[in-house]
């Protein structure tokens, strides 16, 4: 595939929208989602009547508090007439909705596709008398859960520990990401940690959750929804913003990356694999990128993406963040600063930077932005240009 086979010239980010964000908003996933979708359509200068595709991730698959509202509930509530819809848990994790939606537009299956990610901080389950005993776990998780490492913090702590070991980095390098993102959050009034700066002493006073991760290395759960409107590039004349083009996307696992146990090179999966793939689909290079909105559900994931996308050499990411300069990183404060919006907001923030619409967070003259999500076996990256 050559660079001209990418998305360039075919699909744009047309608008982005956010719901309220809070520790416990008392709102349903569906109601948060509707707010975000309406705001995104407004931002694009479009209405529900323009939408002919829905492509969220992952959407409801069962009784859980992870997946967001059912696709059909949003479709019915907005009265959408659709030509294209899809959702599901497999794929490029939080970028699945954007990538699938963009591919649908590029293939002519839809003109305007809406995607969202909606998260709820606290399960609203009824109180149970006793903790569940001997819960059955399925598929690959059956090998992980009995040893406690299917839970997110220990699971990612194992990857973080191996990453630091292989790259010769230390908790100081994790702290660099946390400090960078918390500082950026002070320019983002929407951020959960807005008005609460963090010092390096605060970092080391923060309790260990699962070595090497402290509580401030982990994002804070929030209720939040972000929606993004994708459109055919030739609709740009109808849109409020100048186009933010999708230049290229990458979001596949390596051949042996699912699950974590089977990966031959766990540290370089996802970030390195998709970094390699992304640069094959464009003539742009890491040095051309002005803004990098890189995943930070846990601090070390940002370092993995910096190295995987080629912004620095192996083992150099912590120093790069500490010394600053180069690419602007997690300009909204990231999930470590804003809260666990779970990935899609990175694409929204990247687009806002290219539109010059990022307020106090604006990186002057930003022309190329990358957003990347996930780590371990699932994730992806997307490159946007003005």
């Amino acid at each position: 595939m050559t660079a001209t086979d990418g998305f360039r010239g075919r699909v744009v980010i047309a608008g982005v929208g956010y719901s309220d964000l809070g520790k416990d908003t008392g709102r349903s996933e569906a109601s948060l989602t509707i707010d975000a979708v309406r705001a995104a359509l407004d931002d694009a200068g479009l209405t529900a009547a323009d939408v002919d595709g829905l492509s969220p991730w992952p959407s409801r698959q069962g009784a859980d508090t992870f997946s967001g509202p059912p696709l059909s509930l949003i479709q019915r509530s907005l009265g959408l007439q659709l030509r294209y819809w899809q959702a599901g848990g497999e794929g490029a994790a939080q970028l699945s909705g954007v990538i699938n939606g963009a591919q649908a537009i590029a293939a002519g299956a839809a003109d305007v596709v809406v995607t969202w990610r909606t998260v709820i901080a606290q399960p609203r389950a009824k109180k149970v008398a006793a903790r569940p005993v001997n819960v059955e776990t399925w598929h690959e998780n059956g090998f992980l859960a009995p040893h406690g490492v299917a839970a997110m913090s220990p699971k990612w702590a194992l990857l973080a520990a191996r990453f630091l070991y292989e790259t010769g980095q230390t908790p100081d390098d994790l702290a660099a990401v946390v400090l960078n993102n918390r500082a950026n959050a002070q320019r983002n009034p929407r951020a959960a940690w807005y008005g609460t700066p963090l010092t390096v002493d605060d970092y080391y006073a923060s309790p260990i959750i699962s070595t090497p991760l402290r509580i401030v290395d982990c994002d804070m759960p929030v209720d939040a929804s972000v929606a993004i409107v994708l459109a055919r590039a030739d609709r740009a004349g109808d849109l409020r913003h100048a186009p933010a083009h999708i230049e290229a996307t990458a979001g596949t696992p390596g051949p042996q990356t699912e699950p974590e146990l089977a990966s031959a090179d766990l540290v370089r999966d996802t970030s390195w694999h998709n970094g390699q793939l992304l640069w094959k689909l464009t003539d742009l290079r890491p040095g051309d990128v002005d803004v990098a909105e890189l995943y930070d559900g846990f601090s070390f994931q940002t370092l993995m993406w910096l190295e995987g996308l080629g912004f620095c050499g192996r083992g150099e990411s912590g120093a790069m963040v500490r010394e600053g300069g180069g690419v602007a990183l997690c300009t909204d404060g990231g999930q470590l600063g804003v809260g666990r919006y779970h990935g899609l907001e990175k694409v929204a923030q990247a687009a806002r930077q290219l539109w010059g619409d990022a307020g106090d967070m604006q990186v002057e003259g930003a022309e190329v932005a990358v957003a990347a999500v996930g780590s371990g076996s699932r994730g992806g990256a997307i490159l946007l240009t003005r």
Binding site: N134, V135, G142, F143, G148, V149, S153, S210
Partner: protein, 153 residues
């Protein structure tokens, strides 16, 4: 949390009673769990080319053969990654507990817990060997690992 504030001097023991998560009974993983009941750490291996796979596959990624069978390993390996976890996360192991990936001598990686040592004793690269813990009331045996004789940081 079910225990008092831990100290690093405490030796971590396998729980006597298992109330944590259990594997569902699934055909493709059943031979692994049945072998553990016999105190064998058995891993799927391709009979055509000899490649080991974990978790199991339905065709050999190395040679394409469908001729796959579970075979006992030596039960030895080294710590690939390790975390000292200070929250229970539903494991009901008590805190702190040690989560680990161990690379077996046969080349595959398993998830486990390191036991019979303190949290200060564990590190990436240390040699370990399997210890079996039976939970007969639920017909489950788990494979934990302990530091091999002479292992030191």
């Amino acid at each position: 949390m079910t225990t008092a504030e831990p100290t690093s001097a405490d030796v971590i023991r396998p729980p006597d009673v298992w109330r944590g998560p259990v594997p569902a009974d699934e055909a493709w993983t059943r031979p692994y769990w049945e072998a553990l009941r016999r105190h064998e750490l058995s891993i799927q291996r391709c009979r055509a080319c000899g490649a080991w796979q974990h978790p199991p596959v339905v065709a050999c990624p190395s040679c394409g053969s469908d001729d796959l069978a579970f075979q006992p390993t030596a039960g030895r390996g080294e710590i690939y990654s390790v975390t000292v976890c200070h929250r229970e996360f539903g494991l009901q192991f008590g805190v702190p507990w040690v989560g680990a990936y161990v690379t077996l001598d046969e080349g595959v990686r398993v998830a486990t817990n390191i036991v019979n040592c303190t949290v200060d004793d564990v590190a990436i690269g240390l040699p370990v060997s399997v210890v079996y813990q039976d939970y007969d009331d639920i017909e489950l045996t788990l494979a934990f690992f302990e530091l091999a004789e002479g292992a030191a940081r």
